[in-house]
Structures are given as structure tokens and as C-alpha cells.
């Protein structure tokens, strides 16, 4: 089931195109990661989907319907830095959120325990550390059990324990048939919690698909040999292994999926090359992303 459909979403600030003609859709129960370097338009995109800022052009439909109040109450949103009343306690701030969403106050304590702020719930927001503020923002987003979660850099400023807790929370929500859209500049984070990813660069989508499917479907084998010149010579003349790259003393061979390391090893022995290092290396997401980003450039 389609939760969100985005069509040609664009935001310009004067001559700067912050978000350019985005078209994508979200399916129910999936965890999406929006990935991109700083200033690539992640927050702008999420803010538009939250109706905090107006798109310059394009449209988006939540649950197949035009935007509107009833729609937004189904969304749990956390944008950029946590915004709460400095002079109110964590509990009072959540009470305001509960009032707006029509959620019973009894849920506040549950959420406070879930985000680990229950002991400090009567402290003023301004006495909180960045990590605690971030936790409260996540708490505000999940209050009222929304169907869709939009989280902008949710682990920003959290300690390792907090990061693990947020990941656990996201996985748990994903297990409850919730749809999650998460922005991050940390590839690792996306790789760990997301099933789908959208890569943004300078406001453009440059990749939209599964996290696990290798973006370029390539396997890389690392090779080292005493006689590296002979090794490169043999590789150049081969059919299957001609696509390689030399970085210092290491050679990286790109091969088709049906070729294994043992085939390569046998081939080298036939040509009297003694390998000192042979390793199978699945390309990591990080390298995929760098590759995608570089190709665009």
C-alpha cells in the first residue's frame, strides 16, 4: 500500500534550487533512508512533506489524499533541532503536544519511559543536554502512535547507548507496520536500520532503491603479489579480469557475479603468478554512495 506519493516536488530560494523535482513514493511498513551530504536538501524535503514550508512547485499526497489537517495527525514528525518551550518541563512540553493531537495524558509517561527521560520529566527543557533534547523530540514524534514517522537526523547528538536505543525503537516501529522516513548523513545508520534508501545530491535524487541490493551489482576482489608487474600484465591479457584498478601495492579486480575467487586463483596459478593476498570484498554501501556521488559529478 502506498503511504506517500511525491510528484515533482521543488523548492527554490531565489536562484538556489534546494530541492529539484523529486518524485518518489513510500510503501507501508518500509523504513526509508534519505541520504545525502550536508545541504543536499534532506531537511527541506522533510519540512515540505510536513507542510512547515511551502513547495515552489510539485505536489505530494499522503494516504492518496491531498494534504490537510487530518492527514498530519497521522504523522509523527521530528525536524532538525528539537524545538520546545525552554521554560517548561519535559512533561509540560509533551502535554502541549498531547493536547494538539488529542492524545490522552496517560500516554505521556509511557513515552517518557520509552525515551529514557522519565526521571527528568519535571526538569525544564533548557536544563537538558543536547542528547536529552533530541530524545524528547523523538518522544514528541512517537506520542500518539502515528502511522508514519518522519525523523530528521534522529541520532544527532546522542551517546552510543542512545543511538542504539533509537535504532531499536525504529526497528520496533517498523515491525508494527509503521512507515518510517529517516534522513541522515550517516551511511552506516541508514545501512543498519533502513530497507530502502533515497540518495540526494544538490536537491536531486541520484539513487532510489533497496539498501541491500548492491547499487552497481559488482564484486571486487583484492589481489597482492610479490611481482606486481607480472600480475598486472596477466590481468590485462585476461578476458574476465581485465577490469581492474591498482592502488599502491594492491590490485582491485571487478568481476562478474558468476566468477569466484577460486576461479581467479586457478587462473593465476596457470600463469605462474603467486598471490600473496586474495580476498573477496563485497562493495560496502559507503563505497556505493561515493561512487554514485562521483558519477554525478
Amino acid at each position: 500500500m502506498e503511504v506517500l506519493r511525491v510528484n515533482g516536488l521543488t523548492k527554490t530560494y531565489g536562484s538556489l534550487i534546494a530541492v529539484n523535482n523529486l518524485t518518489f513514493s513510500l510503501k507501508r511498513g518500509e523504513v526509508y533512508g534519505i541520504l545525502g551530504p550536508n545541504g543536499s536538501g534532506k531537511t527541506t524535503t522533510l519540512a515540505m512533506l510536513s507542510e512547515a514550508i511551502h513547495p515552489s512547485s510539485g505536489e505530494f499526497l499522503w494516504f492518496g489524499k491531498d494534504s490537510g489537517l487530518n492527514q498530519r495527525s497521522k504523522l509523527g514528525i521530528m525536524l532538525e533541532k528539537p524545538n520546545f518551550y525552554d521554560y517548561l518541563s519535559a512533561k509540560d512540553n509533551l502535554k502541549i503536544i498531547a493536547d494538539i493531537r488529542g492524545v490522552d495524558y496517560s500516554e505521556i509517561d509511557i513515552v517518557l519511559k520509552r525515551i529514557g527521560l522519565f526521571e527528568r520529566c519535571n526538569s525544564r527543557f533548557k536544563t537538558f543536554s543536547l542528547g536529552m533534547k533530541q530524545r524528547l523530540a523523538i518522544g514528541a514524534a512517537v506520542l500518539g502512535d502515528p502511522q508514519v514517522l518522519i525523523l530528521d537526523e534522529p541520532t544527532n547528538g546522542l551517546d552510543p547507548e542512545g543511538i542504539a536505543e533509537v535504532r531499536e525503537l525504529i526497528r520496533k516501529m517498523a515491525g508494527e507496520e509503521k512507515t518510517i522516513l529517516l534522513a541522515s548523513h550517516l551511511l552506516d545508520e541508514v545501512q543498519k536500520v533502513c530497507t530502502q534508501m533515497i540518495v540526494l545530491k544538490k536537491g536531486n535524487i541520484i539513487y532510489d532503491g533497496s539498501v541491500n541490493a548492491n547499487a552497481k551489482n559488482e564484486i571486487i576482489i583484492e589481489l597482492m603479489a610479490e611481482d606486481i608487474a607480472a600480475l598486472t600484465e596477466v590481468l590485462k591479457q585476461s578476458v574476465d579480469f581485465a577490469n581492474f584498478e591498482r592502488k599502491k601495492e594492491m590490485i582491485f579486480v571487478k568481476i562478474a557475479p558468476n566468477i569466484t575467487t577460486s576461479i581467479l586463483n586457478a587462473y593465476m596459478q596457470q600463469h605462474d603468478i603467486l598471490l600473496s593476498h586474495l580476498a573477496y570484498k563485497k562493495q560496502s554501501l559507503e563505497e556505493d554512495i561515493f561512487e554514485i556521488l562521483n558519477e554525478i559529478r
Binding site: A47, S50, A52, L69, S73, K81, N83, F84, I100, R101
Partner: protein, 250 residues
Amino acid sequence: MLSIYFIALILALLGLQSIILKTNRNLQETGIASIPLLPTNIYLFPHIWHNISFVARFFKIFLAVVMIILVTNEYTYNTLRQSLITGLSRGQIVLSKIFDALILSLASAILLLVFGLVMGSVYSSGFDLWDVVRKMNFLAAHFLMVFGFLSLAMMIAFIVKKASLSIMILLVYAYILELIPAFKYSDSFGDFLPLRSINLLIQAPNTTIFDFLHLSSQSNHISSIHIIVALVYTTLFCLVSYFVVRKRDL
């Protein structure tokens, strides 16, 4: 901050009587006037309502500062965005601030009501219910005046977003900018400028001293034309606030 306003207003109203008595005595001693120029007892029913609401006219700027901060705080802490993404509509956000303005105006009117009832009972001889309630319409006018002024402050705050700048703009407009055309064109449109028309709701009490000073705008009545103009301006300020918030990226 609100309590500062209340305390300032109460002190001013309490002190007024002694200032008046002192001024009268000075004027008589220096021989300028042989009779008391100022009304000797401003706390008598029913005129107390007019007198105190006229004095309170000069204190509404304090409430406007409160109002400006209520609005600009939402920008400073970015809670406007938080409320919006939590599920409030832009219209509801503006409406919540209009409610704030209503509450402040109502609190101000209630303060005057309580003060008037207490001081009036103390200083008036005898208790005539008709005398007590006869001029209470000045409290309603006070409410409308404060609400109109606060909606102007709210509009400026929504547009400008910064507290200090909003306060400066309001002060410069209220005490300098508007006075020039209001004075120069007082025969034609001068009386219909926003603040002037709001202020004309409660004019100076028709007393010897203001006669003496040739004060043009004095009346013991509230004219309906001023009520209508004030209502129109108030509506306009609220609508402009709404359109600003609706159009803007938060």
C-alpha cells in the same frame, strides 16, 4: 511581566488622586486659578469608570510588550514549527494568539472593574446601583481598545519575528509616526488612523482642566462610529496576521 503592568496601573490610579490634590493646591497658591481646576474626587460613581479607563489608556503599551513577546517567543524557540508539525493548522496558530490577546484584554478590564468597585465604594457616599453600573460601558470600550492595540502589536510581531525590533516599531509608530498625520489632518482622515481611532474610544473626561487646556478630543460618551472603526481595524490586523503566517515558511 503581566504583574508589572497590573502593579504599575494600580499604583498610577492610586497616586492620581494625590497628584490632583497637590496640583490643585499649587495652582491656587500661585494664584493661577482661584477654584480647583481638576476634579477633586475622581473615584466617585459613576464617573470613576470613565476616569480610570482614561488613565489606563496610557498603560496599554505594557500589555503590547507582553503580547509581542508571546508571539516572537514562538519564533525564537521555533515552537511555531513544532506546533505546526504536531498538527495545528496555521489558522489555529494565529487563533491561539488572538485568544492570548483576548485574555490579556479581559484581564485588564477585570482589573479596572475590581479596582473601580473597591475605590468607588470607598469614596462614594451611599450606594446607588444605577450609579454604579451607569458608565460601565467604558470598561467594554477599554476592553475593545486594548484588544485592538494588542492585535496591532500581534500583527507587527508576526511580520517582524524579533521581539526588540517589534517593540521599537510599535513605539515609533504609536508615539511618533502616527501623531504627525493625525495632528495635521485631524479635520479629515486624521481621526481614522489606526491608533488614533482606537484611542478615541475613550476620550478625555469633560472637565475643567481639559477645557482649560483646549483639548480637542474630549467627550463623556463613547461614539458608535469609533467602535465601528476600531472593530474594522482589529479585524484587519488579525486577518493580516493570518495571511502572513499562511504564506510564510515556518
